[in-house]
Symmetry: C2
Subunit: 588 residues, 2 copies
């Protein structure tokens, strides 16, 4: 294998053009096999093998700095920069993160997993170079999809006036995760069709020098192009047309499905493993379809992540004009929904916990200050073994401390659907619902709660001494603790499902003082700034003891969830241990 | 006066063109007098009198909806929509907010005070109209300065493909609060110079239809233009050139100084009231100038609000290339600083508390996940009588619950400068400093603390029974409480300056258990998700009582600060009352 000779980007420069092409084939095969084995980003990486080889052939990393936007497409870069073992050796498949990570290599400048950041980061890197009178090319490598995010635009607007070397490579495969959305994409289409010659040019309008390459998967042409602009003394956009999923026919045909894949996607067995069991995704889309049919003002909105919330192509087509994908533009998504709600529509926004944080100001100002009645469904809000860039542990502190919004945390199917319907039908509050994470749980009977009685906790079992408040996903953990306290210690603990994250039931908490010594809170997210601390504050002036269980303030990176549960004492055994310690010490 | 006849926009339509012009003069005089009396936005409002008259003359608000971006320019609109008393009658000068506010008038669709939101809100409003098969024009009125924000771009990208009526009026006065920054502004200049005829056109590149009007302060021409595009069936940008401060020579000459003015700006006495007393602003700019002179890698950054942090024109000129104004682009500002820091520069970002929330994801991902050593100075972080859109009470929950960042809260000049210098010199952490709010306090002696010992609280007075932890601005309040407890009740309370908002000093808190019954926390911001709750959580499993003092979770709107202090029990008298209540009840 040619790859055997490649340990650093320097080694690439010894190869002739034929070898570079053979190398690209080797890398392609490696990526297909590895991603099929472990899951991961397939299409984005297959599309940039040639351009990554050409970049490392022409430029001198790490003196020249390449900053990959969102870094969904950094596998070829990892293979060329000393980390090929992560792709050749199944034992090392999980050794490296799927994103750029400075702790792995000097060729990775930033840890990146959210979209639209590369140009801004690169502008800072370029300015630092200039302030320190250093040399080198600064290269932001950004996909067309990522250009829909506001930070990318803010970056371009500023990069354009930097006055020194700055290279923005626009990797245009005519796809976001799903289809691109927005006026910009008509311009990119025009530029592709005119081979970059159209006068009407978004990048030139922002002040960039510009060049276009139609053959963005042709190593020779790429090298030629990059050599021309190497060491350029001003900002330039190099617009290259590439094919997402290049070289894997299934991925080229079905670009959305192959953006990110589960393990075994290419195996025959994968095709028959479908099942029709209900999931929180499926009951959500069923609900929306029914509601939208009955009410033409209902509209579903996604910020470019329809697949993550089960918004399949079929679902989107059925909704027709009652569906908007706004692109990777969470800020716009919230303001758009606020505008919709204020003017008589009923928007339902589906957003992942990790991306809620991309739109804090809009939730606060555009939405909550205006009290616009939207429904925001927050998916994947939970402690998890995810990588550091996609944690679902921060949404509770973020959302719950903003005034006016009602943040609900259902514990099962019926409760979820009841909250969802209440939210869509009411017109008083912005409402967010933390969609339960994991397998669907059914209560077996409908939920008829009137959720307009804000902050009314549900007392599901009245006991004494110890009260367990289990929020959302962790209500089930609280149930477990209760069972074990009963079975092993003959303690009849009180069990509470708080339902609301944005307020506390002061009457119920007050009444617990009568016959309880300890209140235990459990939340599936970070403790700091979260739900439990409010309970601690409430009882601060009393004799009630309080124990808050949840995650600590840290970026965890692919730590197995069992390990996190152990670290944070989130098993019934460890929780009961802490309860014993607390009551022994202080009731002595 | 012609204005006497104008109570609703309908009344405008009865006037002839001459009367409309006379009306514009009347409105101009009113605004100049009122803003000179009360302070407020002067230049932005004077520039849009004619265009606002023309809008209300041609369109039919509220069936047609006009959405003002940031609403710094809504005074003429307020005068024409039933709120002229707020400008004619000094007794009512403070009756209306300086921003659009639906609770005041049906002609205000949204409560707005942050920048770059209008196009997204309007896109939602337009889509709601379409879903409900309604009629009407939707108009976003946005200044050139506001176009630098990412949300505006996300909005434009989506608005362009709406497929129905949507009018974006770009009010181009060639100014942001200070000068515009970025490549876009070269294009706007080209468009002005070519009277909109240049092929290279940012708005067309995004897919908009486009028309240009050079005489944006000419009522006749404005009416003619708006009549042409009224009821248009697709998205269009109407680019009008206006003069910021139009009709007030001082404001036309000095656009930045007259963007927002203090009361009495036009009075002769105003010119001699300058004094040279030290302020937190002045010691900051002095520090930065000295540091930048000694170290060419030091760079100051502002997101278009240099004046608010005392970054005067002189200061900016002295710094030269060691200063960047990124435009109203807080997301870029953080990522840019992260890039700078990661590549060997020392960025110092000045940002207002209320605008920190415009860049949460970037603080989390671009900055903290990457541990980039920047210094972020947070100004105006305090409870205040500000309007609901500019509150400084949310930065503590926002920043302090993000991993890796060190958020410091100095209590006086020497401590602040010591923290600032530590931050700029260290290379381990992203650091934010909550610049003290209000008059400068000097300790009278240098502070030699080593702030790399993270989360080490300062025990300034060791006492017994009660410990007072006063954070930042409220350290002085804690001192007052201590004095009064001593004078009136002969209680020798412990006094603690925590310095750090992002972590707690567990050793010190543990040691307080020995001889204290009550810990009181005081913070100048919202309690929910803030500093005090962490102390409550810490003591949850112990006998220690805890009282947290701070603001409640709410959007307050121009509530006088004394009233807020009363509401939140933030006077020494009320605090001591609560302490007595707590100790009486529970030590009995």
């Amino acid at each position: 294998m040619i790859l055997d000779k490649i340990n650093t980007p320097e080694d690439l420069k010894q190869l002739d053009r034929e070898e570079l092409k053979l190398l690209s084939n080797e890398i392609r095969e490696l990526i297909i096999n590895k991603v099929n084995a472990t899951g991961g980003h397939m299409g984005p990486n297959l599309g940039v093998i040639e351009s990554t080889i050409a970049l490392h052939y022409v430029f001198n990393s790490p003196q020249d700095k390449i900053i990959f936007d969102v870094s969904h497409q950094c596998y070829p870069h990892k293979i060329l920069t000393g980390r090929k073992e992560g792709f050749t050796n199944p034992d090392k498949y999980y050794e490296y993160t799927g994103y750029t990570a400075p702790e792995e290599s000097v060729h990775d400048i930033f840890k990146v997993g959210h979209t639209s950041t590369s140009v801004s980061l690169a502008t800072g890197a370029a300015k630092a170079r200039d302030l320190n009178n250093e040399k080198g090319n600064i290269i932001a490598f950004i996909g067309d999809g990522s250009l829909s995010g506001g930070e990318a635009y803010e970056g371009l607007n500023n990069a354009a006036v930097l006055g020194s070397n700055m290279i923005v490579i626009v990797n245009d495969n005519d796809m976001s995760i799903a289809e691109n959305q927005g006026g910009l994409y008509k311009n990119l289409k025009l530029l592709r069709e005119t081979k970059g010659k159209a006068e009407c040019n978004f990048f030139k309008a922002l002040g960039f020098d510009y060049c276009y390459l139609d053959e963005g998967n042709d190593i020779d042409k790429l090298i030629e192009t990059f050599e021309k602009i190497k060491d350029i003394n001003h900002p330039i956009v190099v617009h290259i047309k590439t094919i997402k999923g290049h070289g894997l026919p299934a991925a080229e045909r079905n670009k959305e499905a192959f953006h990110w894949v589960v393990p075994g996607i290419l195996n025959e067995s994968a095709k028959i493993s479908e099942n029709n069991a209900e999931t929180y995704d499926s009951i959500t889309t069923d609900y929306i379809l029914n509601k939208a049919k009955a009410d033409s003002s209902v509209i579903a909105v996604s910020p470019a992540t329809p697949g993550a919330s089960g918004f399949s192509q079929e679902f989107r087509e059925k909704l027709g004009k009652q569906y908007t994908d706004v692109g990777i533009a969470e800020e716009h998504a919230i303001a758009y929904c606020s505008g919709l709600a204020k003017c008589g529509a009923k928007p339902i926004l589906a957003i992942l916990s990790s991306f809620v944080q991309r739109t804090y100001d809009q939730i606060s100002q555009d939405l909550c200050l205006n009290n616009s009645p939207i429904t925001m469904l927050v998916y994947w809000g939970a402690l998890s073994g995810a990588d550091a860039t996609h944690l679902g542990s921060f949404d509770i502190p973020l959302i719950s401390n903003i005034p006016n919004i009602v943040y609900l945390s259902p514990t099962n199917k019926e409760e979820y659907l009841s909250m969802l319907n209440w939210s869509v039908e009411q017109d008083k509050y912005p409402v967010a619902i933390r969609v339960p994470y994991g397998e669907l749980v059914s209560a077996g009977m409908p939920d008829n709660t009137d959720y307009s009685n804000l902050n009314k906790f549900k007392l599901t079992n009245a006991g004494t001494d110890i009260a367990l408040i289990g929020l959302g996903n962790f209500y089930h953990l609280a149930q477990e603790v209760k069972s074990e306290l009963s079975a092993k210690y003959n303690i009849n603990a009180t069990l509470i499902n708080p339902c609301y994250i944005t307020g506390i039931d002061e009457d119920m908490l007050e009444s617990l003082k009568k016959n309880h010594k300890l209140v235990v809170t459990l939340e599936d997210g970070m403790l700091n700034g979260g739900f439990g601390e409010k309970i601690s504050r409430f009882y601060g002036n009393s004799d009630m003891k309080v124990l808050n269980f949840g995650g600590l303030k840290e970026f965890t990176d692919r730590v197995p969830i069992e390990e996190l549960y152990k670290r944070y004492h989130l098993t019934s055994e460890l929780i009961i241990g802490d309860i014993n310690k607390c009551l022994e010490v202080y009731s002595a």
